[in-house]
């Protein structure tokens, strides 16, 4: 009897990708050294963990939740209290393990609320998470003893003696702590998706009835997945507590829950790395873009709606379909159409941005009169010539974009048809 041969080649691609990610985490703060950039990177790291945990429910489990911030927020509150106790010497807890406290309490609340919420999936689940989210938020303002009332609970992450010179005072040390936790959580959540529980949650998402036929209780699966997701959400809450040294009712607010939903969806819920991309983009919009323009919420809303309409698979799906084209070596045909579409889109964007910024400036009557800084130039928003110019750019951009779009669509269809043909040929049909 021949021995079974087991051939499991190294997945070089996967190792390469993860290694690159690790290197990037390590190297980015050395390139962008300003305090603001470091805090931005830290917030991205926290959001990545949060969004990935959310996607365990949403993309992988098919559960749309409007109250995920409850777990991260409650985890954050417990983490900061633990940090304060550690600082006062009541318990022994190194700062680097504080996120674990957040995770444990997040999971505990996952058990508590999850039992009630996971009885149903779909819309009832979404509604009930909304209700619980609102209740927890309201409760956080009613019990100032634990939640600190309006001012929240603050803490100090510089406690005890520095270990190997690391005190977590400077922002960059906090960044590296977050980076390590973020990477670890990414690996853990990726691994979870490969476990039987992870796989079965995919099955429950796709066809709960069928999953029940093969002997798995859909409710049980959802409940367990929620607990694990709440654990990781709690870790992100703990990281947030360390980063900001303050936790407020905002951490459990509907705004946070909505934000992580937006981030996950923008990135792409169907792919593991989608939420990672989405978290980066979301934090960029909310934290960085708002430094430059007052209309950032408008841009975020429009961007989100456009994604929902034209790319419901998120940025990740856009990246992947292009990679598929590259794999079949047909990308050269798309180079010109892409250039055309992107350039005309850029023109349109500049025009729209001008109009939006000037409108905002006028109706919000800022303190600097009618001039505003637009892309580095001083522009008088009350002057009709400028409006004419902006409208002109918008019209030109729109017309050219429309033409380019059609051109691109034609080429894209042709390329897709070619790919289908190649696939069929490869399959030997």
């Amino acid at each position: 009897m021949p021995a079974t041969i087991r051939f499991a080649p190294y997945d070089v691609g996967r190792w390469f990708v993860w290694a690159t990610t690790a290197v990037m985490f390590a190297v980015l703060p050395l390139i962008f050294t300003k305090g603001f950039a470091i805090t931005l990177l830290s917030q991205m790291g926290i959001m990545i963990v949060f969004a990935l945990s959310y996607n365990m429910l949403f993309g992988q489990g098919g559960m749309l939740s409007f109250g995920h911030a409850v777990y991260s927020g409650l985890g954050a509150f417990f983490a900061i209290h633990a940090l304060n106790w550690a600082g006062a010497g009541k318990i022994w807890l190194p700062v680097s393990l504080v996120p674990l406290v957040g995770g444990v309490f997040g999971a505990l609340f996952g058990v508590l609320f999850g039992y009630v919420t996971t009885k149903k999936a779909g819309t009832p689940f979404a509604m009930i998470t909304l209700g619980i989210g609102e209740m927890v938020f309201a409760a956080s303002l009613m019990f100032p003893g634990f939640f600190g009332g309006e001012g929240g609970v603050s803490g100090n992450r510089v406690i005890g003696d520095p270990l190997l010179g690391v005190s977590f005072g400077p922002g960059i040390e906090v960044y590296y702590l977050i980076a390590v936790w973020c990477f670890g959580c990414m690996v853990a959540m990726f691994a979870f998706a490969q476990t039987p529980l992870g796989r079965i949650s995919n099955a429950v998402r796709d066809n709960p009835e069928r999953a029940e036929f093969i002997g798995y209780s859909a409710q049980r699966v959802r409940f367990l997945v929620l607990i694990v997701a709440a654990f990781f959400a709690g870790i992100s809450g703990g990281l947030s507590a360390i980063n900001f040294e303050i936790v407020t009712a905002e951490n459990v607010s509907a705004l946070r829950s909505g934000g992580v939903l937006l981030a996950t969806f923008i990135g792409g819920a169907m792919f593991f790395f989608g939420p990672v991309l989405g978290a980066v983009i979301f934090v960029f919009f909310v934290v960085a873009l708002s430094e430059y323009t007052k209309a950032w919420q408008f841009y975020l809303g429009v961007f989100f709606v456009l994604m929902v309409m034209y790319a419901p698979g998120g940025v990740a799906s856009l990246v992947l379909i292009n990679l598929r084209v590259m794999k079949y070596r047909l990308f050269a045909r798309l180079r010109d159409p892409y250039a055309g579409v992107l350039l005309s889109a850029l023109v349109l964007l500049v025009g729209v941005a001008m109009v939006v910024e000037m409108s905002y400036h006028l109706t919000l009557g800022a303190s600097t009169g009618s001039t505003l800084k637009l892309f580095g130039f001083g522009v008088d928003s009350a002057a009709p010539e400028v409006w004419l110019l902006a409208s002109g750019i918008v019209v030109a951009g729109a017309l050219s974009f429309d033409a380019m779009r059609r051109y691109f669509a034609r080429e894209w269809e042709a390329v897709q048809a070619d790919i289908e043909e190649k696939i069929r040929r490869e399959a030997g049909l």
């Binding site: 990610t21 001012g151 603050s154």
Partner: protein, 416 residues
């Protein structure tokens, strides 16, 4: 799997834009960061506050209040979020700005005060001074006092002290109802009212107390019904924004005759919502009456109105600029630590009279006004608010010592 290259390129491109250098200020200019909401629920108030500060900074530059020192205001939007405030602080530190002004929101003020203290402790030589121009939580000048924090507004307890002194002199007040927002500030108003009324007029009965969630209630009719049922003739409330506007409207609708004593009836948006409904019924306690200013103040108000078509009510911006200018002249330096020491005990003349920055707790001592909402008549009420045709008539001007409060602050000062 190779899509991670795309992620790498994308992220780097995204982050590259953020690493761009920010503008460096000219030398000889002191930049003041203004950090408050420019979006969200309090955007309108924030807008008004920003304009007030810009106006004050312009006045300081024009009048050369600081001698050779020129001032520049750098606004930031903290979206009323404590965590966003901390992120903004990092940007402020990056730009090497040493003075931060914030006031709209207790949570953000507390967060900033804490963060500034930590920053100053961890970065000696790069200290930042926090000018708190409107957050009135008493703890910031008591148990949570900090050397680098200076409060320009009168705090909640001082306001209640003044208010209750005024009320004590009115025998027609017999039954008082307390209705407040259910958070730290609302609780402090409620507690203060009870405590001070008991001391000054033990015969006044508190016939009811209510706490409602912040900015969530649309329909105040049930609360008004309760107030009616209690037989109160006076209502004390710390409510602001829509909470106050809707309360007054509901009271008018239900035919409630009780008078209102408020803290914030003059803030942006509320006068419009109160309108004629509040004539003669609504009073407020504040550190200034913008409807009845001295000639110097009239110039300021009219200039502001002309330029921005808005009301100038946040005098704290003017006072703060006066204080900073004088402190810099006194210290002969713009270094934050020297200026902070110079501010302690400093007395300046502002548009509401003489004010003093008390050294023990960094709480500004200034006169307090009680005013009532009346039609503009050009004499006792010279300026209206928000084109409603109504403004504030001063009913009492109390000297600073009346409202003054003892402090539990144990100020830790750095070496000079």
């Amino acid at each position: 799997m190779r899509y991670r290259k795309a992620l790498a390129g994308f992220s780097i491109a995204v982050l590259w834009a953020l690493a761009s250098p920010h503008a460096v200020a000219q030398s000889g200019t002191v930049r003041i960061a203004w950090v408050d909401p420019q979006s969200g629920m309090m955007a309108a108030v924030g807008q008004n506050a920003l304009r007030s500060w810009q106006h004050a900074v312009d006045a300081a530059n024009q009048g050369k209040w600081g001698g050779n020192v020129r001032f520049e205001l750098v606004p930031f939007d903290n979206k009323l979020s404590p965590q966003e405030t901390l992120t903004v602080l990092k940007s402020v530190v990056d730009r090497d700005i040493r003075y931060v002004a914030l006031g709209l929101g207790t949570s953000t003020a507390l967060a900033l005060s804490d963060a500034v203290a930590k920053h100053n402790q961890r970065n000696p030589g790069k200290e930042i001074v926090f000018v708190n121009y409107a957050a009135v939580d008493p703890s910031m000048t008591n148990e949570k006092c900090d050397f680098w924090h200076f409060r320009i507004d009168i705090n909640s307890d001082m306001k209640m002290e003044a208010l209750t002194t005024f009320m004590a002199g009115r025998p027609e007040i017999r039954k008082v109802y307390l209705i407040n927002q259910d958070y730290a500030f609302g609780h402090s108003v409620e507690r203060g009212a009870e405590e001070y009324l008991k001391k000054k007029r033990p015969d006044i009965a508190i016939v009811g107390k209510d706490r409602h969630p912040l900015a969530q209630v649309r329909d105040f009719a049930p609360y008004v019904a309760k107030i009616k049922a209690s037989g109160a003739d006076t209502i004390i409330t710390g409510n602001w924004g829509s909470d106050l506007a809707l309360l007054v409207k509901a009271a008018r609708d239900a035919g409630l005759t009780a008078g209102f004593y408020t803290y914030y009836a003059g803030t942006t948006g509320t006068p419009t919502a109160i309108g004629a409904a509040g004539e003669g019924k609504v009073r407020q306690v504040s550190y200034w009456n913008p409807s009845d200013p001295v000639p110097e103040g009239a110039k300021c108000i009219e200039g502001f109105e002309r330029k921005y078509k808005d009301d100038y009510a946040i005098l704290a911006s003017y006072t703060a600029m006066k204080l900073l200018s004088e402190a810099m002249k006194k210290a002969k330096s713009t270094d934050a630590k020297q200026v902070a020491f110079a501010l302690e005990g400093l007395k300046v003349q502002s548009l509401n009279g003489e004010v003093e920055m008390r050294a023990s707790d960094h709480q500004l001592q200034q006169p307090v006004f009680i005013s009532s909402w009346q039609k503009v008549d050009g004499k006792t009420v010279r300026y209206g608010q928000e084109n409603t045709g109504y403004g504030w008539r001063t009913e009492a001007r109390l000297d600073a010592y009346v409202a003054s409060q003892p402090t539990s602050c144990d100020m830790k000062r750095p070496a000079k």
